[in-house]
Symmetry: C2
Subunit: 262 residues, 2 copies
């Protein structure tokens, strides 16, 4: 299944009306089975689905590392991913059950993350020039976005280059894909920078925290809850990284500038 | 709880580094109880929460109209919304159970919607000038977005004006808020135009279809699945409505232009 396809459309511009063909992004429902039990169903872009499945299973805590996976098979027609783990006794938690179990109210998500993630220990540094250069390269890489305007992208970077890059119709899926891809490649995440095209909500921040990613950068805005979590978990959170500027919301000590270096 | 708040940030621009205060958008977890049973937990912007709850219960099919609701109480501290229905026997379906019940594979969502929504019957028309004027007004109304960059917005419109407008950190929540608000006000939706700031995925289209909204307009891109559903359900889907242009993907007959009118 292609990531994009052409559809007929009527383009209206001022008073003119033209029949045209427009490139649009595909969206498909993916179902993940773990050890023969239904785990998650979600809508996504039909590309790099093994990366998405592995990233999701890591995010959900169903697996701790890629080596927990014994086999992966994707049925390209039904889009059912059939995953068997080394431990065949594992039964995936249903999203509904998980949310029932986690209690009510403002404190629940916060406490759950604070309790399961320890503060990031990384002493890695990036210069602001590196962050902005990575961000500019990232914006140019998004081929599906540039052709359709319909996707988000995410990337894992070291100081001088982008190592893993993925796109998806879902902000969260794009991050799950880069995390899953890194896991398959055996790439350590504890010294990497995560670039995201979309807004950084608490759920996005939690995904980074669970993988011990020390620096999260977006060209969009963060939410207050994401900033609070980043502050508590010792994660550097950067928003509005565009052109020659950025806002560092938490743990600015990991981003050095020429001025502060002198 | 305010929709925005100030946080300390380090603004980096070229080689300068300034300590500043930035306005960011709040994000909070809302829990909905129906007839004493837990229904949904979600993250949202803490404003217009009754509209969000009513819109969500309509979208989920827990209620058919606002008159099904006997009482609504929101605890402002825990953000637990306690909803009692006229029919106290109704037990809300858990999102997890719903997705388990709906079967696997590409056909499931498609068939579910095709089976539960009948094609839109509305013969309403809008001129392209009206659509673009509404769209321009909509872009200027988004005060939280303009100040924080962190939210999506949605609006319900008649030909000459915006009737209901809401913002939220979630694309889906913004639509649920306008639908819920309209229900509380007793506003009919079957002749209205829905404006969205975000991308139109299949889930967004389904929300409109369930409320019999005949025209959906976004300044962003639609997905292929949303286009297919709109085509089948006789809904007019417009994307990239910006400045003097737009793309009409389905049922273009509801949007007239001066040229086609002559």
């Amino acid at each position: 299944m292609q990531a994009t396809s052409e559809v007929k459309a009527t383009r209206v511009e001022q008073a003119t009306r033209i029949e045209t063909a427009e490139l649009v992004v595909e969206e498909c429902p993916l179902t993940i089975m773990v050890n023969g039990h239904r785990s998650i169903s979600l809508l996504c872009s039909p590309r790099d689905l093994e990366a998405l499945v592995i990233g999701l299973l890591l995010a959900e805590g169903t697996i701790a590392t890629y080596t927990d996976v014994a086999s992966f098979h994707l049925d390209a027609e039904t889009l059912i991913a059939d995953v068997w783990l080394r431990d065949r006794e594992v039964i995936p938690v249903q999203p509904g059950e998980r949310s029932r179990a986690s209690g009510c109210g403002l404190g629940a998500i916060y406490l759950d993350v604070i309790n399961t993630c320890s503060p990031n220990q990384s002493s890695i540094h990036f210069t602001s020039e590196q962050v902005l250069a990575l961000s500019q390269k990232f914006n140019k890489m998004s081929e599906i976005f540039l052709s359709t305007g319909g996707v988000h992208s995410a990337a894992l970077c070291e100081a001088r280059d982008i190592l893993v890059f993925h796109e998806d119709i879902g902000r969260h899926n794009a991050v799950d894909k880069v995390v899953g891809s890194a896991a398959v490649q055996g790439l350590a995440l504890a010294d990497k920078l995560l670039l995201c095209s979309g807004r950084i909500s608490s759920e996005m921040l939690v995904k980074a925290a669970k993988q011990s990613i020390p620096v999260v950068v977006s060209r969009s805005a963060p939410t207050r809850l994401a900033i609070d979590l980043a502050s508590r978990l010792n994660i550097t959170l950067v928003g509005f990284a565009r052109g020659a500027r950025m806002n560092i919301y938490t743990h600015a000590e990991r981003i050095t500038t020429s001025v502060s270096d002198r």
